[in-house]
């Protein structure tokens, strides 16, 4: 893929996200002029960039959408949900086309039809008559002279925002004189007439055979103004007129008949020049527009190695902004164009100081992932080195090699840790990447459920490791759906409770120490804690007496227990009974924890606490029935030896007393149903080795009996994926120093 297309795809996807946000906000605040201008700018930019790649259906569709937004901006068209829907669909379709473009360098075969369909929907029925969807592109600039075209472009400069050049083709009905039509009078009343051609529809007849009452004319015109005004002038003969905005490029005399298709840099430069000349820039955006034109031009120049020109353009931008005058930019662009045509003379004129170019770099994800994997392997190698150093120390007569080997191990350990940190930092992305998908989702869901809901997003700039952020989407999706479906009451019920009909769901992210916290809050009905408790007892998650011992907060946490759903009916949105347990497991799998706060009739907050990075995990290796496993050290409260006489039987279960509490004891081998080792050395006598594990989340402690305890290691955890990803007992795997795979247990999920 060429670099320009790549850039276009990246930027367009950002723009689509921005446009989606804007449209959704606009639906809520239709009066907000800035929002309209923002969305208009998104469509305008998308349309403009798409022009460079010759993807006509997309350009046409975006153009129609832009027209619609211009009409909204000028107060000619009201905003309604149907229109927002269509505009959102235009963005969806654009996103699909971008995917097509990325995969196969072209649009899908049905692109024309899709575009035409959306254009028809955008224009609505009555506008469809005035502007048939088959309105041709402006492809015959030659009908007007070069002088007329230049004059039109000049006349456009200095016009108000929203002004463009329109091509008008008026073919009056031959019998129009009988209807009282006077076509030229309509033309005379046209605002901003810039060129006019009168020609016969066929050939002019001889004077002798001329029927003076038959109109034989075809009128071609260029008009400068706002589309609405131009269409208004022809409203009575709309069926005889075709009106289309003319891309400046098509008129520009220097470029006619257009740059060669292989000169992409030239095309980009020309595009930027036209962008600077265009007048539809709101005053507040002028500097931004210049900036983006200069940046695009500079990028294109750098792309072909013209760093000097690129720097000159950047310098000219600074000058232009300072003087509030774009002419330095025009000059720089023109010089760059000339310099490209005569490369020999180019270098001499480059005395401009090199501008401080942006130092950020866009790198493919896979490359960073590769780096991450390599660092993971280095950590394994480092651990091997430590193991080797240990072995050497045991060997006799190696005294003088042990110390340098240990020093080296310490150095490599520090270096790999720093390196891991550095790579992890590269992978930090803002959670906004995930949050961005929700405004649209909430809007659609809220319409479907008939519950008006506002989504508030806070802290979208909070960053965390890419894997953590990506893993957030599904749990958040579940939580947000849950909030809308079950949490938020129907509007009439809210009204009855004295709450605003419009509910609020908040997505919030913030850093707390070395964790990132993501919360989903709603101001809905809250969780019926008593019902959760009853349900838990009914589903045999716990006994009646156990429930009685739980505090309210602990009872609320039961929603995360497997096999428990408080809603009896299921919907297609959520409530399949595994929801919250699945959320908890997904979050714990990436080393996070879940929590819930709920107040009846006030709302519910689900809190996800996640590691900022997939940092190195400190584990201790244990063995059971001849197999080795890793246990994360952060859940191990203590490692103890238990003599048999300290173990008691309580209701048929083994337990022991630890720090004045009764702790159940589970042998790891039995939990995992491992086959008995052939030579059960341990367990036959002496003390038992027990890890006291904090099950977390109010679940208390339990003892994990193992046969042996080995090294403490720092490892890079590889999450399980595929089928294995659904086994809750394991957090993931890591490679050991000897090359074997070590399974890392998820102790919180272990007790049967």
């Amino acid at each position: 893929m060429n670099a320009l297309l790549e850039q276009f795809l990246l930027e367009s996807r950002d723009l689509i996200a921005e446009g989606t946000r804007g449209l959704i906000a606009l639906e809520r605040s239709p009066e907000d002029g800035e929002l309209v201008v923002g969305v208009f700018r998104v469509f305008h930019t998308l349309k403009g960039s798409s022009g460079v790649f010759g993807i006509q259906p997309m350009t046409r569709m975006l153009h129609a959408a832009e027209d619609m937004l211009a009409a909204i901006r000028d107060g000619r068209t009201p905003i309604d949900p149907a229109l927002i829907d269509t505009l959102l669909e235009c963005l969806d379709q654009t996103a699909r086309w971008l995917d097509d473009l990325e995969v196969r360098d072209g649009l899908s075969d049905d692109a024309d039809g899709m575009a035409a369909g959306l254009i028809r929907r955008l224009r609505g029925d009555d506008a469809a008559a005035t502007a048939p969807p088959d309105a041709p592109e402006f492809d015959d600039p030659g009908i007007f002279s070069e002088a007329e075209r230049s004059a039109a472009i000049e006349a456009l400069r200095g016009q108000a925002e929203g002004t463009s050049i329109f091509r008008v083709v008026y073919q009056p009905d031959p019998r129009c004189f009988f209807n009282g039509d006077d076509p030229l009078k309509l033309i005379a009343g046209l605002p901003g007439l810039a060129a006019l051609r009168i020609s016969p529809q066929g050939d002019w007849p001889a004077l002798e055979t001329l029927d003076p009452f038959r109109c034989d004319m075809r009128i071609d015109a260029l008009a400068i103004g706002e589309e609405a005004a131009i269409r208004h002038a022809f409203r009575l003969v709309a069926d005889q007129v075709r009106i289309a905005e003319v891309p400046l490029r098509a008129l520009s005399p220097q470029l006619s008949p257009g740059p060669k298709s292989d000169d992409i840099v030239g095309a980009v430069l020309a595009e930027q020049r036209l962008l600077l000349a265009s007048t539809d820039t709101p005053p507040g955006e002028v500097a931004g527009r210049w900036g983006s034109a200069a940046a695009a031009a500079a990028n294109a120049l750098r792309y072909e190695g013209g760093n000097g020109h690129a720097a000159a353009v950047a310098a000219a931008l600074a000058e232009a902004v300072e003087r509030h005058d774009p002419s330095p930019l025009f000059r720089a662009l023109d010089q760059a164009v000339q310099g490209r045509q005569s490369p020999g003379t180019a270098a001499a004129s480059q005395s401009a100081p090199s501008a401080p170019a942006s130092r950020s770099l866009r790198v493919e994800e896979q490359r960073v992932d590769r780096l991450f994997a390599l660092v993971g392997e280095m950590i394994v190698a480092k651990n091997t080195l430590g193991w080797l150093a240990g072995r050497t120390a045991e060997a006799a007569g190696a005294g003088d090699i042990v110390r340098p080997l240990r020093d080296l191990h310490a150095l490599v350990e520090r270096l790999t840790r720093d390196m891991h940190d550095a790579v992890v930092r590269i992978r930090m992305v803002p959670v906004g990447q995930v949050f961005d998908r929700f405004p649209r989702l909430v809007r659609d869901l809220s319409l479907r459920l008939g519950k008006p809901v506002d989504l508030l997003v806070e802290g979208e700039g909070t960053s965390a490791d890419k894997t953590v952020v990506e893993a957030l989407f599904e749990p958040l999706l579940h939580l947000v759906r849950n909030s809308l479906d079950h949490g938020i009451e129907p509007p009439e019920m809210r009204r009855g409770a004295g709450k605003p009909e419009r509910a609020t769901v908040t997505l919030r992210a913030f850093h707390a120490g070395d964790r990132v916290v993501v919360e989903v809050s709603d101001d809905g009905g809250g969780i019926d804690i008593a019902a959760v408790g009853r349900k838990a007892v009914d589903s045999r998650v716990l006994g009646e007496d156990e429930l009685g011992a739980l505090s309210e907060a602990e009872t609320a946490r039961l929603i995360f227990a497997p096999g428990l759903s408080t809603m009896d009916e299921t919907s297609d949105l959520s409530g399949r009974g595994v929801g919250m347990a699945a959320v908890r497991m997904a979050i714990e799998r990436i080393g996070g924890a879940v929590g819930v706060e709920t107040v009846r009739h006030r709302g519910t907050t689900i809190r996800l606490e996640l590691p900022l990075t997939l940092a190195l995990l400190r584990i201790v290796t244990v063995s059971a029935r001849g197999r080795r496993f890793g246990v994360p050290l952060d859940v191990v409260a203590e490692t103890i030896r238990l003599s048999d006489d300290r173990i008691r039987r309580i209701r048929g279960r083994a337990a022991f007393t630890w720090r004045e509490q009764v702790v159940p004891l589970h042998p790891l081998g039995r939990i995992l149903e491992l086959p008995e080792a052939r030579d059960p050395l341990s367990g036959s006598g002496g003390d038992r080795l027990v890890l006291v594990v904090d099950a977390g989340g109010g679940g208390g402690f339990f003892g994990l009996e193992v046969d042996g305890i080995g090294d403490r290691l720092e490892v890079a955890l590889r999450p399980m994926d595929g089928l294995l990803g659904n086994i809750p007992a394991y957090l993931g795997t890591t490679l050991q120093g000897d090359g074997q795979v070590l399974l890392i247990l998820n102790p919180k999920e272990l007790p049967p």
Binding site: I187, L210, P212, C215
Partner: protein, 79 residues
């Protein structure tokens, strides 16, 4: 009368509505060498302009109306 023949010249005056087109056509056909003077012309209906374009007759003077001067003259003053 807004279209009339005076001293061998076809004169257009004031507003020339659609029904003047036939009168103009008749005068042009009847006087194949008569030039057209539109100095006093304020407005021409499209049908009248069409007759003038097809006639390719030499035209005298400049009409008072700005639209005619700027946009129609180039179509009628044939080289």
């Amino acid at each position: 009368m807004t279209v009339r023949l005076a001293d061998g010249v076809i004169v257009l005056e004031g507003d020339c509505p659609v029904d003047e087109a036939e009168a103009l056509l008749d005068l042009l056909l009847a006087n194949p060498n008569a030039p057209v003077d539109w100095t006093a012309c304020d407005q021409l209906h499209t049908s009248v302009v069409q007759v003038l374009i097809v006639a390719r007759r030499s035209i005298r003077g400049e009409p008072g109306d700005a639209f005619l001067r700027r946009w129609i003259v180039p179509h009628i003053h044939l080289p």
